[in-house]
Symmetry: C2
């Protein structure tokens, strides 16, 4: 029997990325069967995040602190600025523990198809940060897609006059990747940019 309260919840859950109406219904039933052990903690976790997490006014990261813990961290190298498409990419880089600079979230990439131009992205604040000084290197950690690389080129051109180094992530074979399963473009890039052992 479909009840309005349950229907409302299924409808809202089914709008999440990765969930459709069928999996949303399964999720609701799962939660109803584990009301105390799963549903109550989920509600309070959502409430906590809703109350405490805000976008950082400096970098665009989502955090409970304002500015975010990365921007506040004295140990981070403020002279290297890593430009990412979205907060999810920032989190992925943080999980890798490989980058010790600070970030700038663009909020997307240029896309002729989707009608996203430079004014739709946080490019003006990026230029402002570089004009303010103190930045020696901009690392463009943008997706290796056509739109991502177009955006990287656009930003590199825009920043041409400034006395800063502009870098990008290297392309190649993913660590642990089988050659068999890789696309031709990646293999061609990996051969062209081969390194001496």
């Amino acid at each position: 029997m479909t009840v309005s309260e349950i229907d409302t919840l299924v409808h809202l859950l089914s709008k999440l990325p990765a969930l459709g109406p069928r999996s949303a219904r399964r999720a609701v039933l799962y939660l109803l069967k584990k009301k105390e052990s799963e549903m109550a903690p989920l509600i309070s976790a959502l409430q906590n995040v809703y109350n405490t997490v805000q976008p950082c006014p400096i970098c665009g990261n989502m955090d409970t602190q304002t500015p975010c813990t990365i921007c506040q961290d004295e140990k981070r190298d403020k002279s290297i600025l890593c430009v990412v498409q979205d907060v999810s990419d920032l989190w992925a880089l943080e999980r890798s523990h490989a980058f010790k600079g600070v970030y700038h979230v663009l909020g997307g990439v240029l896309s002729a198809l989707d009608g996203i131009g430079p004014e739709d992205l946080k490019i003006t604040p990026l230029i402002g940060k570089i004009q303010a000084g103190g930045i020696n290197e901009v690392l463009l950690a943008l997706p290796a897609t056509v739109d991502g690389q177009t955006t990287a080129h656009y930003i590199a051109e825009t920043l041409e006059g400034f006395p800063i180094k502009i870098s990008r992530l290297s392309h190649g074979i993913p660590v642990g990747g089988e050659l068999d399963y890789l696309d031709d473009g990646t293999l061609q890039t990996a051969i062209k940019t081969r390194r001496n052992l």
Copy 2:
């Protein structure tokens, strides 16, 4: 930057069926970007369901009413009892608008592999309902799997002494289904149980 509040939420969401850690993170970012339009309504919908929805003591359906709206409905035919594996199956049958009797949720099916025996299912309350009288037909709407059909046979045997009709859903070609894509078992059943036009 992974924050404890966000991590807690990602962890709880990733336990939902159909979601993993990656899609849970995407869901959290989606909600954070739409705090007022999506996250706030989702929290209140979860809270509503948490506060109002209970399993029906008669049939096992999940509903805001006790007993559930189906068990309370005067227009439903109380003489036909449909036995289903789970609440999700009850909801699926309700969406089809094809059944006008009442339900009995077993809470699973017999499974030698998973160690689920008759005492783990709501079989004793089912016998109790039939002993109480007023039921003419038991429709076993159980999955067409080995475990589902074993459970159907077990229930049919258990109810053998009672003066009631025992039926099951027919097997065959799904409506709109291409013969090409069907498994052999379904095709064999559909041929064996063919009907005259």
